[in-house]
Each structure stands twice: as C-alpha cells, then as structure tokens.
C-alpha cells in the first residue's frame, strides 16, 4: 500500500526515465486503439467538499474525479471533445473500494466499482483519444506543476493492475519500493514512481 498525500502525486510513466528501457512501456496502451483493463484497490481519504483527482491519464485528460462529494468520470474522445459522467457510487472517506475500468477498442468503456457497473459508454461511433506516449497520475491532474489548481487529493492505493486484453502488463502491491519506485511484480519494469526525491 502507498499513502498518496495531497500535493505528492505518484506517476505511472515507466518510459519517463530511459528512452529504451523498458522496451515496451505498459502506459503506451492507454490509448483508443488498444483494449485494456485497469484494476485498482484503494481507500479515499479526502472526499468531502473538495475537488480532487483520483487518477488522470495524460496528456489527453481522461480521469476519475471527486466533485462536491460525488464521483465523476471524464472521457476525452479522438476528436478532442470531452464528456463528464457522474457515477452513481456514493463515496466515503476511509472505505476500501475495488475499481475496474474496461476499455474495448472502438466498442465500449465500462466502469465497475465493487463489481457493480457504474458507467457504460458506447465507442463505436467515436473512439477514445489516441496518444503515442500517455502516462497516468495518481492523486492529481498533472505531474509537472503541482499547486492548488492540481486537484490534489489524498488516498491509499493498495493494488494496481493493468492488462492488455488478458495479458497482465503491470502489477503493484507496493510492498517493495526502490528509490521512490514501486517494483512491478510482473518483472516488466512498469514501475510507478513518486514525484519527490525521497520517500
């Protein structure tokens, strides 16, 4: 488990350190042409009367946000337009939740929380954004400038998994951290790292 504190986001961007290693960074599949699945076990700690971003996929902003005690999901489409969807799930502080996002390329994007469907967006007419080098930020809407506009929030992330179709590309249980980087259990080197120099 990692405790993500306000203004201290963690980043899933394994190609950000080295141009050629890992050779196939998992983040590249967070784009409209790929079928992928994200699974997260987390506990929200800052849900009341705040604007907070639980995670954001950048630079084409697709994100899970907290706004006025409600949960919203933002989708950026391939034509550059965005849509905001309110999710019916009621959020509370300090309650562990299972989040699952399933994206089937050019078909649909579904979101489940605690195994209950929260969202089902048809992508047959217009697909998710396309991007060559996306990254994912936990606890903010940006990683380059963290300030009062970054929608920073606090949460505990217990587990993170990313699949391409059924193939597990990254798996984190955060039991081993080396120099601010969570070790990827798959051995694929798809680490998640902390923005600051030392944990």
């Amino acid at each position: 488990m990692i405790h993500i504190k306000k203004y201290k986001p963690w980043i899933f961007y394994p190609s950000s350190l080295c141009d050629t290693f890992p050779e196939n960074p998992a983040t590249k599949i967070l784009s409209g042409e790929y079928t992928f699945q994200i699974e997260m076990k987390m506990t929200l700690l800052d849900t009341i009367d705040v604007n907070g971003t639980i995670f954001s996929i950048l630079p084409n902003y697709t994100a899970l946000d907290i706004h006025k005690n409600l949960l919203f999901f933002t989708i950026r489409f391939e034509d550059g337009s965005s849509k905001f969807y309110q999710l019916p799930f009621q959020i509370y502080n300090s309650v562990e939740i299972d989040f699952k996002l399933i994206h089937v390329s050019k078909e649909y994007l579904k979101i489940f929380i605690n195994n209950e469907e929260q969202l089902n967006v048809d992508l047959t007419e217009i697909s998710l954004y396309l991007d060559n080098s996306p990254c994912m930020v936990f606890g903010a809407n940006s990683y380059s400038h963290i300030d009062e506009n970054s929608n920073s929030t606090e949460l505990k992330l217990h587990e993170f998994k990313l699949y391409e179709k059924s193939k597990l590309l990254a798996h984190h249980i955060f039991d081993e951290i080396i120099f601010n980087k969570s070790v990827d259990k798959t051995g694929n080197l798809n680490f998640i790292h902390h923005k600051i120099l030392e944990c």
Partner: protein, 463 residues
C-alpha cells in the same frame, strides 16, 4: 530533440559547402601520446608518428604534422581522406549524422568554421580540444590494457613475452618494429620537450584540456600543467579541465592533486574540472582485473575528493568485460550510494559521480560474448537495478542514474546476446590460456576469485 537535429543539419550544410569531406575536428581536436610520439585528430583515424625532425623547428607539429596537413588539404579541396572512412561509411549507408557533423558542431569547433575554411592547408592551427598522455608510467597493469599505456605491462612482457593466446596478446615485437615503444619516464623525450615549448601558446586557445596516461598523477608533467594553470589562469579562465586517474596512487599524490584542484575550483581558475577513473567489478574481482587496485582505497579516494571538492564530478569509465558480470550490481549500488551522499547543487555536472559503462571489444577473449547465456542474464539484472535507481528529475541537486547511464548498461546486454561474427570457440580457448598464464605470472588465483566461473573454466579447459 528536433532543435538539435536542425542544428546538426545546418552544420552539415555549412561543412558540405566547403567540401563533402570537410571536418573541423582535423583542425580543432587532437589526442597526443607524448610517451610514444603518436597523434591523431578525432579518435577514428589511426594514430600516426610525429616526425621529430619537424618538431625541432615547430613544436605545434605535435598536432600540425605534414601528414595531417595533407589530409586537411584534401578536405579543403572537396575530397574525402581515406583515414576518415568511419564517417564516410555512416554517411553513405545511413541517414544518421556522422561524427564529422557532431564534432564540427561542438562549441570547441563550430566558432572556427569561417577561419578554417578560409585558411591555407599549410597553416598551423592551435587545437581547442586537446587530450595528452605524457607517458605510459602506471602502477597498474589492468588485464585489458597493454604496454603502450602501462609501464607495468612493459616490465611483465619484457620478462615473460606475449601471452600464448592465438593473438600472442600484448606482444611488443610489433611496437619495436614500428618504433612505437614508449619512452621511459627517466629518458629524454623530445615530444614532451616540444609540448612544453608549445604549451604557453596553446593554453590561451584551449576550450578543453584532458590529461590521460599511463597514470597522470605519477607524472611530474601533470603537476607542472596544473601549477601552470594556477599561475596563469587569467589567460584562460574558461578552460574545461579533465584528468584521468586510477585513484590508486600514494596518498601524498592524491592529496597534492586535491590541494591544487581546490584552488582551481574555489577561485574559478577553470570553468570546470572533471575527474575520470575506472572500475567495473567489486572487491577481489575488481582487483584481479585492475591489477594494482586497492578496491576499498579507490572508493575512499572518491569519497575524499567529492567531500573536499564540492563542485567536481567524477566519471567512472567502466570497461565492462567477462569478469564484470558477477559483481556489477555492487558497483551500481556503491555508485548510487556516492551519488546520494554527495548530491548538491554546486557540481559542474548534475551528478557527483557518473557511471559510464562501455563494453570491452579488445582483447576479444575478455569480451562478455565468451560467457554462457545464464551469465549474460546477470547483465540484464544490473540494467534493471540501474533503472530502479533512475533519476526522476534531472535538476541540480537531484541524484540517481540518468537516462544515458541506464541505456549504456542495457546496451551491454543487447551487445552480449547479439549474433555476429564473434569466434566463440577461439576466444574461449584464448580466455582459458590467458587466465592460466595470468595466474602463473602474477600469483593470482582465477577460480578462487571467480568461483561463479568454475564450471565454465573446467568445461573449456578440457576442450
């Protein structure tokens, strides 16, 4: 990235306007081995002998030899000198820029393009990037080194002859025939004499000066250069100074060097000072390969230098070879520890210490290519370790391994597993002969030092 590419493209266009073989490095850059009397501009062409007859009337012949001037003439006349084939191959067979472009685009080259293109080929030119080796005097005899660069190696070869490998490794007969045997430090050396005659004029024009060896800290000429800079720095306060050292010389020499370096750095008598050193394994394994090394002392000296000199960066040039794979992880750990301990925002370069890993190609019997697949996998583990120790932010005061440092370790693995014309059987056979003879000559024990290679040794010894 795109900006750089445009800059290189513009440089190439300017060079090509003069001639398709025009390269500023033939004028602006030089490496001079004063201990042997060899010179070359750019490291790709083979070194050539400096005629002592020319030196007598003009000490700048250490760089401006008649031979080199004839190459420059070809370049100014739109021809491509044959000795620069390395670049012509790249330009003719790929879309990449060659070193002709990269070196001409360097800050020690590009400002002089107009002056050089309008010059006559017979004119002398003071180089801006100079590497000098005063002698081969060295207290080490690293397994992959040789008599040209180590006086200890000369002593061994004079006593025992070349190794009985298929290549007769480090045999000096050819050096004697080619008149390329190094001068002893005690001998009168006309090349060193010429250097000192040229130096006051050269110093004023230098962008970068790098002292290599042998072991530079064992050379009185190294200290003479450093003391000259202490006295005359106002003539060139922007000098980038680099010095190689094995960091295994007696304490009094290390301390003397640190004292001078402190003055140069604290009083801004140079633009930057960088120290280059080497290690590529841990403990006894490192001491086996870099014969003469005291591993603990090596790191103590690094710590001492970085503590007393808060602006200096130390670059570890690791020549990764077959005997590095089992303990390179420890070198990575130790480098990271030093990076962390000595990180500050004053360093000339971002890191206090850099690990610059290159793979050894010669002698081929020490190449990682001789190893088994399971050994090569250890290189990948090292690369993974370096990645997890990677620097997340490239800003002053940050530490961790840089993109380049990580890539170079990963590239080792790619090299180790790549398939080419490497003669595996011959090189394995040579490796066994080499370590057997090495142990006999030096009183070392290969199997005791490298128990991980016992099976490998036994298998190939039988063959």
């Amino acid at each position: 990235m795109e900006d750089k590419s445009i800059y290189f493209d513009k440089t190439k266009t300017k060079l090509d306007k003069v001639g398709c073989g025009f390269c500023l490095a033939k004028w602006t850059q030089v490496t001079i081995h004063l201990g042997i009397g060899l010179t070359h501009s750019c490291h790709h062409p083979v070194q050539h002998k400096i005629p002592t007859s020319e030196l007598k009337r003009n000490p700048s012949v250490l760089h401006n030899t008649r031979y080199k001037k004839l190459q420059r003439k070809q370049m100014l006349e739109g021809k491509k000198p044959a000795e620069c084939n390395y670049c012509w191959n790249i330009e003719e067979n790929s879309n990449s820029f060659s070193d002709r472009v990269f070196k001409s685009a360097e800050p020690w080259s590009s400002p002089y393009l107009a002056k050089i293109k309008d010059s006559h080929w017979r004119e002398d030119f003071n180089p801006r990037y100079v590497e000098v080796s005063f002698s081969n005097t060295c207290n080490f005899k690293c397994a992959y080194c040789g008599p040209q660069y180590s006086s200890k190696w000369v002593e061994e070869i004079e006593k025992f002859g070349g190794y009985s490998t298929s290549t007769v490794y480090n045999n000096i007969d050819e050096l004697i025939v080619k008149n390329q045997m190094p001068y002893k430090q005690s001998d009168h050396n006309p090349y060193v004499e010429a250097f000192w005659e040229w130096w006051p004029d050269l110093y004023k024009d230098l962008h970068t000066f790098r002292i290599t060896g042998g072991e530079p800290l064992l050379s009185k000429d190294t200290f003479k250069v450093l003391e000259y800079i202490q006295e005359h720095w106002e003539e060139n306060p922007n000098l980038s100074l680099a010095i190689n050292s094995n960091l295994g010389v007696p304490d009094n020499l290390i301390d003397r060097f640190i004292e001078i370096a402190k003055d140069l750095c604290e009083n801004n008598k140079v633009r930057e000072l960088v120290i280059f050193t080497s290690v590529e394994a841990k403990g006894k394994q490192a001491e086996y390969v870099r014969f003469g090394l005291d591993y603990e002392k090596f790191w103590t000296n690094i710590d001492k230098i970085l503590t007393i000199l808060p602006k200096v960066t130390i670059n570890i040039m690791a020549t990764f070879n077959a005997l590095s794979v089992f303990s390179y992880n420890d070198v990575i750990e130790k480098t990271f520890e030093i990076k962390k301990k000595h990180a500050n925002d004053q360093r000339y370069w971002i890191s206090a210490v850099q690990l610059d890993t290159s793979y050894l190609r010669h002698p081929s019997h020490l190449s990682v290519k001789i190893l088994e697949k399971e050994h090569k996998e250890l290189i990948l583990e090292s690369a993974k370790k370096a990645l997890y120790y990677g620097m997340t932010e490239f800003v002053p005061g940050a530490y961790g391994f840089s993109n380049t440092e990580i890539q170079k370790i990963k590239r080792l693995y790619d090299y180790a597993i790549s398939e080419d014309s490497f003669d595996l059987e011959k090189n394995r056979e040579d490796f066994i002969k080499f370590v057997d003879e090495y142990d006999m000559r030096r009183g070392t024990n290969f199997i005791e030092t490298f128990p991980e290679l016992k099976n490998f040794y036994d298998t190939h010894k039988k063959i």
